[in-house]
Symmetry: C2
Subunit: 321 residues, 2 copies
């Protein structure tokens, strides 16, 4: 089943968001417009705006007010992607040239900064200072997550808890904020806001664990980038952490971290992790987060969005690449 079918009843509202994103990135600089539109057209699943809209359905839904939350959330996501590309020196993303490849690092840097600033401008339209706090807090945690990823790189003595805290910041918080802010912006009651916020958090955790599993088990073609690239960059993800002491994994992993591994052994390392117990355990933990997410959905009031949230959670946690 295609993701888009899961939220076909949001189609016209997602088009409003899409148009508003184009308005948001419009400026007096032709170069900035080109770079931003390039990013916008690269698309992406707009999964965060989908969460915003669905969460907003539990309150007084009005696309005109909800968009002031959905747009900044997506802008922050876009900004973080373009900044990642500068750092990772990435030439392509989702099969398209990156901004830094098509223009240069300077353009990519300030396009990212511009998108952050635009996000803030949009959220100020929401007459709820708590919503502003949620967004700035989310941005802060995102950045801390990125820095902690640097600190934890190549560091095998980290715990599963370290990993979970890191992906919470890197991924789960923004999805959680999407749900929370959508609900807040539509004046949803506090109890429902809390369930939606937790739902987003659990879905985000499950989603990132799956992402880290796919980095190891997928083919280059499925990922659109070399398989295992996270691992080869020294990011210690959950399957690696669980598998690190297995006899088939440990020597190769140490060789990789010491930079003495051959290209063939890199592939052997990926294969060893792929068939390790660590992989099974990682899948189990992802599934536990999925169940927690579904449990939050159950406690939501009945409405048309409830089933959609359930389906998207299942979809995101079951995807193959």
């Amino acid at each position: 089943m295609k993701l888009k079918l899961l939220y076909s009843d949001l189609k016209s509202d997602l088009e409003v968001i899409e148009k508003e994103l184009a308005v948001a990135v419009n400026s007096s600089s032709p170069l900035l417009n080109e770079a931003s539109l390039h990013l916008l057209l690269a698309g992406g699943k707009r999964i965060r705006p989908v969460f915003v809209l669905l969460a907003a359905k539990f309150g007084n839904y009005s696309i005109e007010s909800i968009k002031n939350v959905a747009v900044p959330i997506e802008l922050i996501h876009m900004a973080s992607l373009v900044h990642d590309d500068v750092i990772d020196d990435a030439e392509t993303r989702r099969g398209r040239e990156t901004v830094k490849a098509q223009w240069n690092n300077r353009v990519a840097m300030y396009t990212g900064d511009f998108l952050f600033a635009k996000a803030i401008e949009y959220i100020t339209e929401v007459q709820n200072t708590y919503a502003h706090e949620v967004l700035s807090h989310t941005m802060i945690e995102l950045c801390i997550g990125e820095i902690i990823q640097v600190e934890d790189k190549r560091f095998l003595d980290q715990t599963v808890r370290d990993y979970l805290r890191r992906i919470k910041r890197k991924t789960a918080i923004l999805i959680s904020a999407s749900c929370e802010l959508g609900a807040i912006a539509s004046g949803t009651d506090a109890k429902t806001v809390r369930h939606l916020k937790l739902f987003g958090y659990y879905v985000g955790m499950s989603f990132q664990i799956i992402d880290d599993i796919l980095d190891i088990v997928s083919t280059d073609e499925q990922l659109g980038k070399p398989a295992g690239s996270d691992l080869l960059q020294g990011n210690i993800t959950l399957p690696v952490l669980y598998a690190k002491d297995e006899p088939a994994v440990a020597p190769l992993l140490h060789a990789m971290l010491e930079g003495t591994i051959s290209a063939t052994d890199q592939q052997n390392l990926l294969k060893a992790i792929r068939y390790s117990d660590g992989m099974t355990k990682a899948k189990q933990l992802s599934n536990i987060y999925l169940q927690k997410a579904l449990n939050e959905v159950k406690q939501l009031p009945a409405n048309s969005a409830k089933k959609s949230l359930q389906n998207i959670a299942l979809f995101m946690s079951k995807r193959k690449f």
Copy 2:
């Protein structure tokens, strides 16, 4: 006269801001703390917080509320510096190693993003949504200014107006916002806010023109970086723009833009601009902005800060390096 003497009566309040900046950059990541503190200790003149405080003296001055404006303004300035260093591949700034030199680009990138986000968190404490708009608008214009600088690079057919619009965004708007936000945060009357905002704008314009003049006329030692480095990077500043058609300048300038200039001729180019009529004209325009700034000060109500604003404007526009 030392700049610090000009605002000695702000000393204790500037210490409050300094302490608050240290609190602001504190996070759960030791690496981020180190990088941020490194930036903080690199210092700088804190001229923007000074403008915030002085402008606030025209209303109901309370350091506890004003700091929620002064801190984000300085954080945005710091963030833009650390991002500039990533792009310019700068190893030192103000004689200290940059964050990107001491750690790496990834740390510098996300330290900058973190500081932006922290700035936003602080301003949400100010119960005035117009203040939030001013800050996000300022951030947006700063980024557009940086991108336009890329567009205008090596482009000799630009007008003086193009240059002025660029430095307005790059420099004047943040100083203008410092004055405006300081005044707003202390509940200053609308007319005074307007004079202070304009004052900041004119001072910022004068300041940046002087900065661009100094890039050409100073020695490497005075600047702490190679003289003429802006020009050699292809940034067409006001003295260059005014001097570009002079016979002693034009051929060397074209050779530089085409990348066919020798090291000796680079020095000859700088010398030719230094002694050109363009240099005189640039100084004149800087002075016009200074006079406009002083004219705004004149129209402010009499108080202790009035004289300080006047002195700082004179100081900034008369500095030798």
